[in-house]
């Protein structure tokens, strides 16, 4: 089947303005210059309808930038984000509404002066998806979908707990019947027991409405639980992508392996940590060749010189590491 979402050679550069400290230091004679960050660097992937694709990687590797470009709220420097018209025209929505983004912070993403009923119905009324007189009934149904009581419709966001606010954010996103939800650290601010409630909700909504998800998280345990496929990013590039079973059983890229080895796990019990060495390099000045080479235990001279390309190892399992060339005849 044709993918519902195709991302091709997507890149985003930011020019980093000087921070306050750098400006101050410049006054006393240092020479700090504005620099360019390749936040997302030539990223391509495709997503099937109903799939949950997890995106992991360390802080600053470009997950949010990628998510925001897919959601259409940030324009790419180059490359494209395309939805399959066949599969999306059913909802008859403007492209921008096909994708909804759910953010980390349930507190700041809701307008504090609006009642829940207005928060949920604003966009669908504006776009003519529902009539004004359906407002009550519609909002009640959306709340019910996310497991909230409809007698809370007239309340304001501050009258809810963090988990409940996140549910309101999800109800607001669902109100325009999107095809794709981009969840950017959507559960990171919640307590563990509340995280479980929201994760279960996401999975249930996928099953009921065949929603498609890009699920961004730095929590690999959560990614493993929820994803059908995983994309691992490092400094703006995809270094590995695999169906969840291959990701867990035969992770290939040395960075993926290091990540998986570092994940604290409840079921493992007391253990010695043997971490990968080195700092995450500055995205302003990424290492040459394979971005991971300064931290990689297998790095060779070629890794310093030449960026490895993604190469298919088994069905749908791609990894960008020179070691895979040597393994081939």
């Amino acid at each position: 089947m044709k993918p519902i979402l195709t991302v091709s050679n997507l890149s985003k550069d930011f020019t980093k303005p000087l921070d306050l400290i750098a400006k101050l230091l410049n006054k006393v004679g240092q020479d700090n210059k504005e620099e360019v960050v390749h936040a997302v660097d030539d990223v391509s992937f495709a997503v099937q309808r109903g799939e949950i694709v997890g995106i992991v990687g360390e802080s600053g590797c470009g997950k949010s930038t990628l998510g925001r470009m897919v959601a259409g709220i940030l324009s790419p420097t180059s490359g494209s984000v395309e939805f399959d018209a066949e599969q999306t025209k059913a909802s008859d929505l403007p492209q921008a509404l096909q994708t909804q983004m759910i953010f980390q912070d349930p507190f700041s993403s809701l307008n504090p002066r609006k009642r829940v009923i207005d928060i949920i119905t604003e966009a669908p009324i504006f776009h003519g998806l529902i009539a004004r007189k359906q407002k009550n009934e519609f909002a009640a149904e959306m709340l019910q979908r996310v497991g909230l009581d409809s007698d809370t419709l007239q309340r304001y966001p501050h009258q809810f707990s963090g988990g409940q606010r996140q549910r309101i954010g999800i109800a607001r996103a669902l109100a325009v019947s999107p095809e794709l939800l981009v969840c950017d650290e959507s559960i990171a601010a919640l307590d563990v027991s509340i995280q479980a409630q929201i994760i279960n909700l996401f999975v249930r909504l996928r099953d009921e409405f065949t929603l498609t998800y890009l699920f961004i998280s730095h929590d690999i345990g959560v990614i493993e639980h929820i994803s059908d496929r995983v994309i691992v990013m490092y400094l703006g590039r995809i270094v590995e992508t695999a169906p969840i079973s291959s990701f867990l059983q035969t992770p290939n890229h040395p960075y993926t392996k290091a990540l998986l080895a570092g994940v604290p796990r409840l079921e493992v019990g007391k253990r010695e940590y043997e971490p990968v060495s080195g700092e995450i390099p500055s995205p302003l000045d990424p290492p040459t060749g394979c971005h991971f080479h300064p931290r990689c235990p297998f790095a060779s001279e070629r890794c310093q010189r030449e960026a490895p390309l993604l190469r298919e190892l088994s069905a749908g399992h791609f990894s960008a590491c020179h070691l895979n060339d040597e393994a081939q005849p």
Binding site: S193, I220, L259, E272, Y273
Partner: protein, 326 residues
Amino acid sequence: MKPILQIENLQTHFFTKAGVVKAVDGVSFDINAGEVVGLVGESGSGKSITGFSVMGLVDAPGKIVGGRIMFQGEDIAAMSPQQLQSLRGNRISMIFQDPMMTLNPVLRVETQMVEAIKAHDSMISKSEARARARDALGLVGISAPEERMRAYPHQFSGGMRQRVSIAIAMLNRPDLIIADEPTTALDVTIQGQVIHEMQRLCEVTKTALLWITHDLAVVAGIADRICVMYAGRVVEQGPIASTISQPLHPYTRGLMGSVPSQNRRGQPLQQIDGMVPSLLNLPSGCAFQNRCAMVSDKCLSEIPEPIDVGEQRLVRCVNVGQEPAS
């Protein structure tokens, strides 16, 4: 052997306009020399305030209103300000989630470390103090410490800053370190490095460690014992392995079930419905009653006392033992 830290029925309350917030309300646990104890619980359950109470860092409107904190057999409440001062940073030190709570942004790392050493050893020469600072940075895995120590904190990455604050915490060979979410803000690979260094250092120096976190999996990997807090009380404590494999308190059970695990992929996570009650307005009886599947009449009227269930495990639930632990 006597525990290095004994917390007995600690009560730390905040007297706010809206009423009394019972942030810590009857917390008791011990830490032995060289032991790693994990203090876990949800946001607002009173973990940090427990740590702050030990450090004497609770500010108005907060106040320790009951209980005792004994450090190496001495009552902290009975200490003079000078004694407290020498206790902090010397025999007990604290590491915060945000390393900038420890680091001064306008001073070179070297200056701060030398000052910290001199504060507790006024006889030491500057060059000796410098050498000790440099070695401490080397120990936490900072390469080229000689050069790096001349840098300012903002010239370090987040993970490195946290390592510097660990180095500072270890400078005076404390007997106890209270680490409040020390790796929560760090990426997985950097978290692994920091945990690795802490584990190693504590093993070598026999420093006891109170590791405060909401991340059960981290605690599972490093702690000898675990204390689980809920709404200002330790509801369950015991050795890490048995507590995690066979949690007894309904809250601990729920918590374990809500952590994603590779063994349960594809199944819905167990969830604890409802939410934590307001600390301003706790119900009478067990604070977990509104979310508990085992709730009975007794839970509504009686605050559960810690029950010794053997194997060094304590559980605050009136129904424990009523049902086989699963």
